[in-house]
Symmetry: C2
DNA sequence: GCTCATTATTGACGTCGATCAATGCGCGGT
DNA sequence: ACCGCGCATTGATCGACGTCAATAATGAGC
């Protein structure tokens, strides 16, 4: 397989939104059959992105949103003076690209952390359709709003939490998102490096490593490289709060 | 005047959106006269909020967005364990409440830092109207997207910058926003306390105070309590980057 | 105009996380 | 299957920011 991301045009073999098992995650519920058909047409293409490759880069013209079908991504902002900040990790069913609407250009890099596949959602078609289907419009507004709320909770994390608290919060968040996708809450593989975790949490990679070792020493979990086994999820949640 | 925020119903004396001097800031350009008339009807009421009083509180049902006509606000998230994080400072022409759309409840407190007045924009009416006027729809999407981008740049600040860099970035940002409202870029009054600045920047109030003193010692600006006079705006911008 | 609580400044000291460094290991790629 | 580099772990030291504390200045409210 080529390592260059190539747009794949729609073909019969692909799963339509109406039959997609991620439907509850990225599409509104309560659409009529007729409306669902129109949403099916909205998703024009699929696109595979190999591990390490960008889905889009900051500065590229914004045209589409992307819904993750399979795989795992990170989004990353690079400032003028070269500082890098991972702004999020995205998994199946989540939407990427919302930050490009405002300026017409993508504001961050989106890069696959494992071989992935996304649905391409042309934004102007989404706009048109959401003018006609108010359930879709409202759903889209909710998704954007939730992204704002998510960002605010990251601000809270970065602004007020200690290193170990940030790590606990990060792992609990991952755990919950895996659960809602039908995976184990207590065992999963990290797709990102310690450095990427550190960038997201405002820490250096050594601090991330030390923090994980510490949580292991405390018996809350086991770490073996990228594999995480949470033994005491409740205590891990408590570790998000001060002095525990 | 009562110190309790009371909804004020619309009356003839009020400035319509079509005649509002903040129009370029909160409304789309390029509407037809007819469309502008309909937008005028969208803003049902004005509301005065006295200094220190909440415009809304986290947990309250979300029904409307608010556009600031005059005054100054802060938004603040309080976590379950009692931690407080100022997520932003808002001034005239800026929109508040977007974070409430996702859950139907406000996600943060919005509090006036000085006596203020806002336009109340019922969200369901905005939704309806934006289904009919696509310029309005697109403008609204842009505003939400820009909020996401703004939050991401705060994440960058909190995740990668040193105390003095954060302060410089904060002041430069304020400066730019004052300029675009026709005020001086180099002299303005802070409406918030050192503690509120600290909460926003992920610092303690003493560190904020020390940082301001340091920028003053370096000759970049003068501080006298809430009054800021920037002497070397260019150098202040440079102070946002490392090793300067 | 006065008063007092709030806000701001500054100093001394402690601590958490960054930095520098060395070693080991795992896994992706051929 | 093997190779080699990227990734992870751990230790020692340093420094930036937090904490604690004392004082000063401001301005909001009476």
């Amino acid at each position: 397989m080529s390592s260059v991301p190539i747009p794949i045009t729609s073909h019969g073999l692909q799963v339509a939104c109406s039959a997609c098992n991620l439907r509850e995650l990225c599409m509104p519920v309560g659409l009529s059959d007729q409306e669902i058909e129109r949403v099916d047409e909205l998703v024009g293409a699929r696109r595979k992105v190999a591990r390490g490759m960008p889905l889009y880069l900051a500065g590229e013209p914004f045209q589409s949103l992307f819904a993750i079908r399979t795989g795992f991504f990170k989004t990353e902002v690079v400032s003028e003076d070269g500082r890098e900040q991972v702004t999020g990790f995205q998994m199946a069913g989540e939407l990427m690209g919302l930050d490009g609407i405002g300026t017409g250009q993508h504001n961050c890099d989106a890069r696959a952390l494992e071989d992935s596949e996304v649905c391409v959602i042309p934004f102007n078609r989404l706009s048109e359709l959401s003018r006609e289907i108010d359930t879709l419009q409202h759903h889209f507004h909710k998704v954007m709003s939730r992204e704002i709320v998510r960002d605010q909770s990251v601000m809270m994390l970065l602004g007020t939490m200690r290193a170990e608290e940030r790590l606990a919060a990060f792992l609990v968040n991952l755990s919950q998102r895996f659960v809602s996708r039908g995976y184990s809450a207590t065992e999963f593989n990290l797709r990102m490096t310690r450095e990427e975790i550190g960038s997201y949490l405002g820490l250096k990679l050594e601090t991330v490593s030390r923090g994980l070792s510490r949580l292991q020493d405390e018996g809350l979990l086991s770490v073996s490289n990228k594999n995480i086994r949470i033994h005491k999820l409740d205590d891990l949640k408590k570790a998000m709060s001060p002095r525990c």
